[in-house]
Symmetry: C4
Subunit: 224 residues, 4 copies
């Protein structure tokens, strides 16, 4: 029997709240980029194309933030078929995870704004620490959900499926933790490893597998 | 039998997330417009009306952004009766589509802020490329949903209805692609063509038609 | 039989999207107010309390925006028991209504920032025009929903209930339209009338009444 | 029989709207923190790490705002199992509660930005007044929901459970009110008491208890 902390609720409202944080985090990115010549008084730029190209650091930051947050949204949406309910501690860990998601544009921008400058080493360490923290928060949700007799996870899932997913998420997290010391030694390579691991989350995960005879019907899957 | 990538889920949460991105993209537009005299120290304006009228570029940008994003929301809401479920790749393409939606205020503002200046030609090309990209991302969702044995589309829809909608969306996309070279030759005409095509999305699309005997009941339609 | 434009859908997703726009419009207000001494370099203020009091125009603007948008949210939430479904044109009119909701902080701020200055007359007219426009957009939704054989309204509602609500909303709209010429003659009085009419929306509306024998059960009401 | 004001509706849409306001309030916090060297022209900072450390007031403010708003979200999510429906006055009180939630980053930032300066006493009083107001608005929702024959609360809940929760929320509110005069005498201690009381909301509350024979089934709990 699952042991829960605080009141148990279904996942629907919980997912809706989390989706809203993701949606806002993705959409807010654009407010940081101002069109050239819009709010800053006269510019001395020769051409508009040149002026927009000079904003390459901000465009790159927007793209990297979007890929990072978007990749985690895809995984969050996927695990909506794995988690089945929420309790208080799951909500607390989820808030911690969302804090990292909300904050991650800061280190990504710091890195983009100092690429190729004397501050790139410090920026790369900042970036890799932030991405490793995101992965660790994700793993905290995963382990909490799986432990305590599947506190908030679907009991019908096959143990070997959960073992496979633990391995997949665990390896990705380990690589992102290793990227921190790598970034200390070689900033560009450490940052590259961390970002590529995030991009790996864009690839589909295996479809959930269930204990024999407990496979949900198509109706339930399409309502989940 | 439909071939899906990754885990299949119903459309409800997927639509909720997408609706949230649209809602934020529409609402964020207002933060870019500051009331005259609010944050910028003393102004030398003669009258408040004059000062507000001098912001015409920002008011026009807000209106065009709102119409563009709003028109796509109407189409997205409409296709909620055509798509029936989501999988991983559909989520990925949708994130790409939402990236364009989130980013589109930038080129629209660039265009409005340089209308009638020496930079209008470059701004018009930027605008038409952005609008064509939005249309192409929309078509990617459409073709992915329809292919692979109707991966994520309602199987009950009549083939001739889908053919009709493919033609309608396809022609609109083609016009927006053609608007790019037109903008190179004649900036104002190219931008006008692209914007009018977006406005065409404000007009109702045909009601979904189903294979004989598979028409959903009124209850399902009103819950969809 | 109701005559609809475009595809008919239930109200759930439609309300969710509209709720999200309201939620963002209410929450965004705070980004306009910066704590004294936060981002603007050294201040010469003598005391923190004095510095915060000097921001009274911005605090007043936030409060008035919140009351205005909040009052319309209450009415929107209420009419979720009156409207029963959506079609394309209803979505289009709703987008127009939401545009006014999103934009209304601008005229409210303009008015607050110029209270007691030479620009108050122009600001008061701006404010009353904006509030009248919001009321008119609300009425457009109402009349569209009621016409065409109750296109998107619950058919079970008693005709005299709808008549009563049409009168209530209609009178409020008429007062807000009249406030515009009043503001031309007497800025403070015109603005006051318009704002008080909005505040009247904070008061509960009558509970929906149904045709005999068509009263929905408690379960439906609590799920609606 | 419960006495309601205005039209009664289920809690679903009401919670969705409230969740959206919480989600935005949590996510907006990041727009206040700009990466060093991003938008402010040349900096004279010696190292990037030093420059980021110099932003400690803003990082602290983000963390405190996130904990405060997050703790209230956890309680709001929890009470989704206690409240069962909404009426007009409940919506009005909820809007008041959300206003305080939306505004609370302002006093928190004021306090963080003046910690250790001559303005700390005034800032601490501002902070404690704001946190006490949040708690009072929360209690208003609670008492309204419980009164009038359980207007909007689940009738099946055991009276002793509600008595226990009233005591728990009541004591927390009383402590936060007491923190205001304490802050007048000793700014740091008053602010500390108020913030610790908010942090106490991060701890799980007791699971809802029901009248004998009225315990909802697991299905309902997981759908709630």
């Amino acid at each position: 029997m699952a042991k829960n902390f605080g009141a148990v609720r279904g996942l629907s409202r919980f997912e809706g709240f989390t989706d809203a944080v993701f949606a806002i985090a993705l959409t807010l990115l654009i407010v940081e980029i101002k069109p050239p010549g819009a709010h800053d008084g006269p510019h001395g730029y020769d051409s508009l194309v040149h002026a927009m190209a000079e904003q390459w650091r901000e465009h790159l930051a927007l793209l990297l933030c979007y890929v990072t947050i978007g990749a985690y949204w895809l995984q969050h949406h996927y695990t909506g078929r794995i988690y089945a309910r929420s309790d208080h501690v799951f909500g607390l860990i989820n808030l911690l995870f969302l804090l990292v998601i909300v904050v991650v544009p800061y280190p990504i921008r710091v890195w983009c704004f100092h690429l190729g400058t004397a501050f790139e080493p410090a920026a790369a360490v900042t970036l890799t620490v932030a991405l490793a923290s995101t992965a660790i928060a994700w793993m905290m949700k995963w382990f909490y959900g799986m432990s305590g007799g599947r506190r908030v996870m679907d009991e019908r899932l096959a143990p070997d499926f959960l073992k496979q997913m633990t391995r997949r998420y665990g390896i990705a997290t380990a690589i992102q933790i290793v990227a921190v010391p790598v970034a200390l030694a070689s900033p560009r390579i450490g940052a590259g490893i961390a970002l590529l691991t995030v991009a790996w989350f864009l690839i589909p995960q295996p479809s959930p597998r269930y204990r024999p005879g407990q496979e949900p019907g198509r109706e339930e899957k399409e309502e989940a």
